[in-house]
């Protein structure tokens, strides 16, 4: 007689539903017209390019990771520049993920400070 652990499958099912739901929610948020915190991963782009071409800079994480504030159109532009990832993240989730800056920082100030 085959036996198995039904709790494991049940929890996997619940986690799968949650992941699909969370993914759908994130995607829908990214469709909103107003600017949203956006996680950028652009390791192939010079910092100067990102600083010049990106919309408002919220935070710089290093290793090509940035937080910016962007509309869907601006995210598309960043992808066109070569960013591997430009993911809109709702404000509360962005804060939980470490995007703590309340206001955009001056690009020149960021360049002067250098990577964290």
């Amino acid at each position: 007689m085959r036996v198995h652990q039904p709790h494991l499958r049940a929890i996997s099912l619940l986690l799968l539903f949650s992941a699909v739901g969370f993914g759908l929610w994130l995607w829908l948020q990214s469709q909103r017209e107003e600017p949203l915190p956006t996680l950028i991963w652009a390791p192939n782009l010079e910092d100067a390019v990102v600083l010049e071409r990106a919309p408002l800079i919220l935070d710089r994480l290093g290793g090509g990771w940035w937080w910016v504030e962007a509309t869907p159109f601006e995210r598309e532009k960043l992808r066109g520049l070569g960013a591997h990832l430009a993911l809109a993240v709702p404000q509360p989730v962005a804060r939980m993920a470490g995007c703590t800056a309340e206001l955009p920082r001056d690009p020149q100030e960021i360049e002067r400070l250098g990577p964290p």
Binding site: P6, A10, L13, S18, W25, L28, R32
Partner: protein, 449 residues
């Protein structure tokens, strides 16, 4: 827990049922999001008929859901749950699509109220749980109902923010249409709820039970009702414990049995508490000086912990006395509500209340469905649980209405909170005398029932 493996056929049934419950309960929980976008004037695409007209449609929806549940249950017992879920899914979808077109209150009551309410009674998690009770192997019923309750709760937790995101991104009409598309999948998913055919190969141990159950049904007193309708006989898989020989007989048994009335009374209290907390907790927290953010997090915690509570309750109700489990759940609700009233109010208190109530929220459902099955067998489980759910909806109506009424009279919710504590104690106590045994084989209706 280690137990015999389910066949892939039964896993498919389980997953499809869980998705149906998740979608239906989630969409049903999202209607509050549409109040202002649909009813308030001076909004894009708004119908502008005001909150009262919208509230009337929702009241009709809840009433239709409650009254429709025993009818849907009777149809599920007669024709098989999958047909009822499929039909309910069609009506639910139709109601959602048409509600985007009906801009006057009368027609909105018919589409958003009547059609969706009837659709929910067919394609809702109640029908799915009853189907699990009838089609899953006996040793897995409690667990399957727990998982079904947990996924329905997860629907509430996931679909509401997704619905809001749809509204923010595309407007309310596209949000409703997206929900309609999601619900339109339920007739397809319902196909998985068909009972395995008599000779259908299944790779699990349940296949033997199915065959023997079908054989028993075919040889027993139910055989005359089958008339060659294989689906109907399949819907009776593992239904051999019922002592009733007809729906009328089953209703006579149930409503002549004091334990069934006690169960109805307990579930009335469940509906009262859930509806009161859902509707009146946010304004109450606002009254005591907490922010809207704390209120929304408290409601969110109810949804999140409800998933855990629903699953645990299903698991426990397969291992211990259901009436005692219900006794402890209602007693805990009384203690949690009393503590919420007596402790100094703070964000931590409100969040802890949300988490604790979440654990106890739908955890009453699996043991209640199972008690109906234990008392009367599974042959008419959908119908008999449908009446228990109707009692729940009446309690919900009273909870919402009384909360608003007493607040209007006294300017405070305190009386209702304490009433909720007393009712929870009452509900705990009424479960103790319930006889958790199969209703004794009774004579046919003509001979006494």
């Amino acid at each position: 827990m280690k137990s015999p493996a389910l066949s892939s056929r039964l896993w498919l049934l389980l997953v499809a049922g869980c998705i149906i419950g998740l979608l239906a309960f989630g969409v049903r929980s999202s209607f509050g999001l549409f109040v202002d976008p649909i009813s308030q004037p001076n909004r894009p695409d708004s119908f502008g008929f005001g909150r009262e007209a919208f509230a009337m449609a929702l009241a009709i929806q809840n009433l239709a859901w409650g009254i429709g549940q025993p009818v849907a249950g009777a149809l599920a017992d007669r024709f098989g749950p999958w047909r009822v879920v499929a039909g309910g899914g069609v009506l639910f979808t139709l109601g959602l699509v048409l509600m985007t077109l009906t801009s006057d209150p009368l027609h909105f009551n018919i589409t958003a109220g009547l059609l969706i309410g009837i659709g929910m009674s067919g394609a809702g998690h109640n029908t799915v749980l009853a189907a699990f009770g009838q089609l899953m192997p006996p040793e897995r019923r409690a667990w399957a109902m727990g998982l079904g309750t947990a996924t329905a709760s997860l629907g509430q937790f996931l679909v509401v923010p997704i619905g809001q995101a749809f509204i923010d991104a595309y407007g309310w009409i596209w949000a409703v249409l997206a929900m309609a598309i999601a619900i339109a999948t339920t007739p397809l998913l319902a196909l998985a709820l068909r009972a395995p055919q008599k000779n259908e190969p299944t790779d699990g141990p349940h296949s033997e039970k199915i065959s023997s159950a079908n054989a028993s049904v075919a040889q027993g007193s139910h055989a005359s009702a089958d008339k060659g309708a294989s689906d109907e006989s399949n819907a009776r898989v593992a239904n051999t414990t019922s002592t009733a020989t007809s729906l009328r007989h089953a209703l006579g048994q149930a409503f002549g049995y004091d334990s069934y009335w006690l169960l109805l009374a307990g579930f009335f209290v469940c509906g009262f508490q859930l509806a009161f907390v859902t509707v009146h907790l946010p304004p109450y927290l606002n009254d005591v000086g907490l922010t809207a953010s704390v209120a929304s997090w408290s409601i969110a915690l109810i949804g999140l912990f409800n998933v855990v509570g629903g699953y645990m309750s299903g698991t426990f109700s397969g291992r211990m006395s259901r009436r005692l489990l219900l006794f402890w759940i209602y007693l805990a609700r009384a203690a949690v509500t009393a503590g919420f009233m007596l402790l100094p109010m703070s964000p931590a208190t409100a969040l802890a209340f949300g988490a604790a109530m979440g654990l106890l929220w739908l955890s009453t459902v699996p043991p209640t469905v199972q008690l109906v099955g234990v008392m009367f067998g599974n042959r008419y489980l959908s119908t008999l649980f449908g009446f228990v759910f109707l009692s729940h909806q009446v309690g919900a109506f009273v909870g919402v209405w009384l909360g608003g009424r007493i607040y209007a009279e006294t300017g405070s919710y305190n009386w209702v909170w304490w009433m909720s504590v007393v009712l929870a104690l009452f509900a705990a106590l009424v479960h103790l005398p319930i006889r958790e045994t199969l209703y004794a084989r009774a004579p046919a209706p003509s001979a006494g029932h």
